[in-house]
């Protein structure tokens, strides 16, 4: 008996010593891309492994940030700005990610009755200038003019080339690029063998795997302060669109940064809309569209994509899909 116990003890000691492979939690702030604070939290076996993943994720995010940059051009890169400036005159060859994001945008345009529109760059630019000034609304005539150049059907994509049939149409991926980039960056992390992480792109969270002791806990803020609720998630994305932080107040009226393509002005049905679904790009696009849709049409859209939703209205209690409630709890 003693011998057996001794042997067992030896085996256990060896195993305890080899336990250096236990995963540890690491967090790192990533470069600021898509105008948001980005952060990666992951469980890795070593700091070097985590750094390698964080660097690769940063690289992918930067690459996509440049590709979908509305304001700047970069050497040797045909990006959104290049396309906006030249596709009205001649066909422009674009990157595969550009095509993939445009395909997503087109599909969501159809599905959301035009509420998610990536072809209204002129309109969003008008509003962006006003948000920066913070004290005036865009000129009504200019808005009407911009609204007449927002038809995605005038954007031709063939054989990897983009051409604008309407030379005054402009693309703006502001509402969907962040989510798409999050999904791609998550794929990069997974390809490096990182299985358990949270990638937070300011209100746009992609999670994979879990913590050693349970699923990831994602808090959802209440516009009036505090945390409204939280969800437990293992693989998927949580994206919130809200109007209470980005935007401006003019003459006592709140104008949020999400513009309804039908009215040409800030959508104000909801204070925030949170979407949970499998793909971060889809979640981002859906949250923008749902922000402009009423509950009935919103529920239909969410159901079509199997997404779960939490709506926080300006007045009254939050509304949630049944499936959303299933993610809640633990808090």
């Amino acid at each position: 008996m003693k011998k057996v116990l001794c042997a067992l003890l030896v085996v256990l000691t060896v195993l305890f010593c080899s336990c250096a492979t236990a995963k540890k939690r690491y967090t790192q702030t990533l470069p600021t891309v898509f105008d948001t604070f980005c952060e990666l939290t992951a469980y890795c076996r070593s700091e070097e492994e985590f750094r390698r993943v964080a660097d690769a994720v940063s690289g992918e995010l930067l690459r996509l940030h440049r590709l979908f940059d509305y304001f700047n051009e970069y050497p040797d890169l045909i990006n959104l700005k290049t396309v906006n400036e030249t596709a009205g005159k001649e066909a422009v060859p674009v990157d595969g990610d550009f095509l993939a994001l445009w395909t997503l945008a087109e599909e969501l345009y159809e599905a959301s009755d035009g509420k998610c529109n990536a072809a209204m760059g002129h309109l969003t630019a008008l509003w962006r200038d006003c948000f920066e000034a913070g004290d005036r609304l865009p000129d009504g005539e200019a808005v009407r003019e911009a609204l007449s150049h927002t038809d995605p059907a005038t954007v031709r994509v063939e054989n990897g080339m983009v051409f604008f049939l309407d030379p005054d149409v402009r693309l703006d991926f502001g509402a969907i690029a962040k989510g798409y980039a999050g999904e791609r960056a998550a794929e990069v992390a997974v390809s490096l063998g990182c299985t358990d992480f949270v990638l937070n792109l300011g209100g746009n969270v992609v999670v994979r795997g879990k913590k050693p002791y349970g699923a990831w806990q994602i808090g959802i803020e209440n516009p009036d302060g505090g945390v409204e609720t939280s969800v437990s998630l293992s693989d998927g994305a949580v994206v919130t669109s809200g109007d209470y932080l980005r935007g401006m107040d003019v003459d006592g009226v709140r104008y949020g940064h999400i513009i309804d393509p039908d009215t040409g002005s800030s959508a104000r049905l909801w204070r925030s809309v949170t979407v949970i679904c499998g793909d971060s790009g889809l979640a981002d696009a859906l949250s923008t569209a749902l922000f402009c849709l009423d509950e009935t049409r919103g529920r239909a859209l969410a159901a079509r994509y199997g997404a779960e939703v939490l709506w926080i209205p300006a007045h009254g209690h939050p509304i949630r899909t049944q499936g959303f409630a299933a993610y809640e709890g633990g808090e």
């Binding site: 746009n204 994602i218 959802i220 803020e221 505090g226 949170t274």
Partner: protein, 115 residues
């Protein structure tokens, strides 16, 4: 089966319930706030003491009654100042133009917060 077995079972269930209540009372709210400027940690301050923290001549973070908010910032968009006070682990207030991140630290809480 002895009477003690039943007492043990009930005792454990009671203890678990009390532990649950206790944890619920004390968990969630953070212990400290960490302020970073362009990635460098400026400092970590306990939430238990009220405090005014100037940040790089361009902003001011305040701890009041266990909650943290950005009292002032010279940034153009004022998103950080508009953010409601934070107290729960994982919550952050970010001022991108000035590169400031204010984050609640502590055990448990959230791995990320959206909103």
């Amino acid at each position: 089966m002895k009477k003690n077995d039943l007492f043990l079972l009930l005792g454990v269930l009671l203890a678990a319930f009390l532990l649950f209540l206790g944890l619920r009372l004390f968990s969630g709210n953070g212990e400290a706030v960490e302020i970073t400027v362009t990635g460098d940690v400026l400092g970590v301050y306990p939430l238990s003491e009220d405090r005014i923290i100037p940040v790089a001549d361009c902003a001011e973070v305040r701890i009041e009654g266990g909650r943290v908010h950005m009292a002032f910032s010279d940034c153009p968009n004022q998103i950080c100042v508009r953010h409601a006070p934070i107290a729960r682990v994982g919550q952050t207030i970010v001022c991108l133009p000035n590169g400031i991140a204010v984050r609640i630290l502590g055990d448990g809480g959230f791995d990320a917060v959206v909103g």
